[in-house]
């Protein structure tokens, strides 16, 4: 079996002035080696929280994350167990993810030196890594501020690779970058996944990029996964109204000047999630029962999973185009 990471019924809570906020409210995910899983959803729906919980930056309130056969523990003050050094994360902000006061070299070899490698050997390896991510060798001796955002992101990736990552959680790794850098960095990531057979969770709010590079997609809404499936399934025939809305909102630069469709309303506050289906207040297809009963996360006939009352376990997905609109109560 190729499965390297599995997330089971994971719940992550924040403490906000003494009350608990469930930012991730029961999530199941699987990731295989060499696979890119795209995780999409609107801002505030818990993508980063999930990503951080997977690598252990945040602790799980319930459920667990199994990486390569062992449950991931929350980071403590002590050294992280060797085993989990292969589980790494790339952050969104290229300006915050490198220490402004340390040379690139020192930061890249961290993973090697901590792993016990000798410094000089580590430096040599770091040069290779930098070459892998397409940076000149003399970058080792420079400071982060001498690099552009895209270059920094490459450095951050090199740093993760130094720890011989087998799973990368990439939290919006390209959203802070320029159009041309975006393409460069995303190509680099795709390349690494293929060549090193790394598993990657690619978190993004941009469905179109996710569609391009992922193998499978998980759509998240307010702390829950509402749909997962292959890119084609999700893109061609979304089974959840939220997925459909996300796709419809993407503008196309094809000069056809068709307006993207908006999804009115905002992601609700996770402190008081709506009853029943969390999406129902914004769902154009909501039915009365949606406000009461929480839909189960079921596997459809085409092997995709979805949590919507319109879809029934084991059956072919119902095309949302065909559903008549029922006003929500």
């Amino acid at each position: 079996m190729n499965e390297i990471l599995s997330v089971d019924d994971l719940v992550v809570e924040y403490n906000r002035d003494g009350t608990k906020v469930r930012a991730v409210a029961g999530v199941d995910l699987r990731l295989e080696k060499g696979e890119i899983l795209g995780l999409v959803g609107e801002s505030g729906c818990g993508k980063s929280t999930l990503g951080k919980a997977i690598v252990g930056i945040l602790g799980a309130a319930e459920g667990e994350v199994i990486f390569d056969g062992l449950p991931v523990k929350k980071l403590t003050r002590g050294k992280r167990p060797e085993h989990f050094r292969n589980l790494q994360m790339v952050f969104q902000d290229p300006y915050g993810s490198l220490n402004p006061r340390r040379k690139i070299g020192a930061q890249v070899i961290d993973g090697l030196v901590i792993g016990g490698m000798h410094r000089s050997k580590a430096l040599a390896r770091a040069q290779e890594l930098l070459a892998t991510v397409g940076l000149p060798a003399d970058a080792l001796g420079r400071f982060p501020h001498q690099f552009s955002g895209g270059q920094r992101q490459r450095i951050a990736i090199a740093r993760a690779l130094a720890a011989s990552a087998s799973v990368l959680i990439a939290d919006e790794p390209i959203s802070a970058l320029d159009t041309s850098s975006q393409a460069q960095v995303s190509n680099l990531l795709v390349n690494l996944v293929h060549e090193l057979s790394v598993g990657m969770v690619f978190i993004s709010h941009d469905l179109s990029i996710v569609r391009r590079i992922s193998d499978r997609v998980a759509v998240m809404y307010l702390g829950k996964i509402v749909e997962t499936g292959t890119v084609e399934q999700i893109w061609e025939s979304p089974a959840h109204p939220y997925t459909k809305a996300l796709i419809a909102a993407i503008p196309h630069a094809d000069g056809r000047s068709s307006m993207p469709a908006d999804l009115p309303g905002d992601v609700p506050n996770p402190m008081s999630p709506p009853s029943g289906c969390r999406f129902h207040p914004r769902c154009p297809l909501a039915m009365p029962e949606c406000a009461v009963v929480e839909p189960e996360f079921v596997t459809l006939a085409d092997n995709r999973q979805v949590a919507c009352h319109l879809q029934k376990a084991g059956q072919e997905p119902v095309s949302l185009e065909l559903i008549p609109r029922v006003p929500a109560s």
Binding site: R80, S97, N99, I114, H145, A156, A163, E172
Partner: protein, 299 residues
């Protein structure tokens, strides 16, 4: 939040005056006129302190002249009530005021950094407890505690230093704690612990270089404050003991002799210039820091 990198840069540029776009290099700071003036003055004082025996025209303790000679060719700053040459005393005063102010700042920095470091590093209850204690000392009126301690232990500049240290360290503790908390949650520290470095390593490898800059600036700013406090205590008779040529004590001698204006004026100017110089430097350095840490320094 998604900001395009350049807008980010632009915002930063707008946020902060142009003077420090020198890409983090401290070189540009020394092009600031205030800093140059400050450095020059400090340089002069340090020189004077180090070479006092050669610079000073007379022995600062020698009581061989006349009483209260006004400034003249032989005695540029006149003489005091014990017939001593004031210029020589002002010069030798630099040997007391400067080193002790710096000592005070260094001591406070050490204590404050340890407390703030432990507090920020361990967080939770340790943090809460240490910060409460820090608050107590912070709220404590420094000069009053210093007076009590100095009165109790006997006025001696060493005791004054101890006394003021007791109330001066909380500033550093707060700053260091804030900086640690700030960077502790930063992505690069998280990344580092994901790579397997323990927090202790993180503290020394990742956090230390980010803390030392602002702490250094604070130290520069606090040397002036320390000098003022120390000379204030000496002015009250609770700092340096006679016959040492401490500036504050000399001002208090001058205070008794208002019409012999030179007795108090020159030591007063000595204090003013030294403090001013440190403030010039500290202020420029602070402006040169990036705005977030500069804010941490101000609060």
């Amino acid at each position: 939040m998604i900001l395009s990198p350049n807008t980010r840069k632009t915002l930063k540029a707008l946020e902060t005056p142009t003077e420090k776009k020198g890409k983090g290099s401290t070189n540009s700071i020394w092009r600031q006129p205030l800093a140059i003036v400050g450095l020059t003055i400090i340089g002069v004082w340090v020189f004077v302190a180090v070479f006092a025996p050669w610079v000073a025209p007379y022995d600062p303790y020698s009581q061989e002249f006349d009483k209260f000679i006004p400034p003249s060719a032989e005695h540029w700053m006149g003489t005091d009530e014990l017939n001593r040459d004031i210029l020589s005393r002002v010069i030798y005063g630099a040997r007391i005021s400067l080193p002790y102010s710096i000592l005070l700042v260094v001591l406070s920095t050490i204590i404050g950094t340890i407390v703030g470091g432990v507090s920020g590093f361990f967080g939770g209850r340790v943090d809460a407890t240490l910060m409460r204690i820090t608050d107590m000392f912070f709220a404590f009126p420094g000069i009053i505690l210093a007076m009590a301690v100095a009165a109790a232990l006997g006025p001696e500049i060493r005791n004054a230093v101890i006394a003021i240290t007791i109330v001066a360290w909380p500033v550093y503790a707060r700053l260091v704690r804030g900086l640690i908390l700030n960077s502790k949650s930063s992505d690069y520290v998280t990344a580092s612990s994901l790579l397997g470095s323990s927090s202790i390593r993180t503290l020394f490898v990742d956090l230390r270089p980010n803390i030392s800059g602002p702490v250094f600036v604070l130290m520069a700013l606090e040397v002036g404050t320390a000098l003022l406090l120390l000379s204030g205590l000496s002015f009250l008779g609770l700092g340096a003991t006679p016959p040492s040529a401490e500036w504050g004590a000399m001002v208090s001698m001058g205070a008794v002799n208002f019409d012999r204006w030179w007795v108090g004026l020159f030591p007063g100017i000595a204090i003013l210039t030294a403090v001013l110089a440190f403030n010039f430097i500290g202020d420029t350095l602070r402006d040169a820091l990036d705005p977030r840490t500069a804010k941490a320094l101000r609060d």
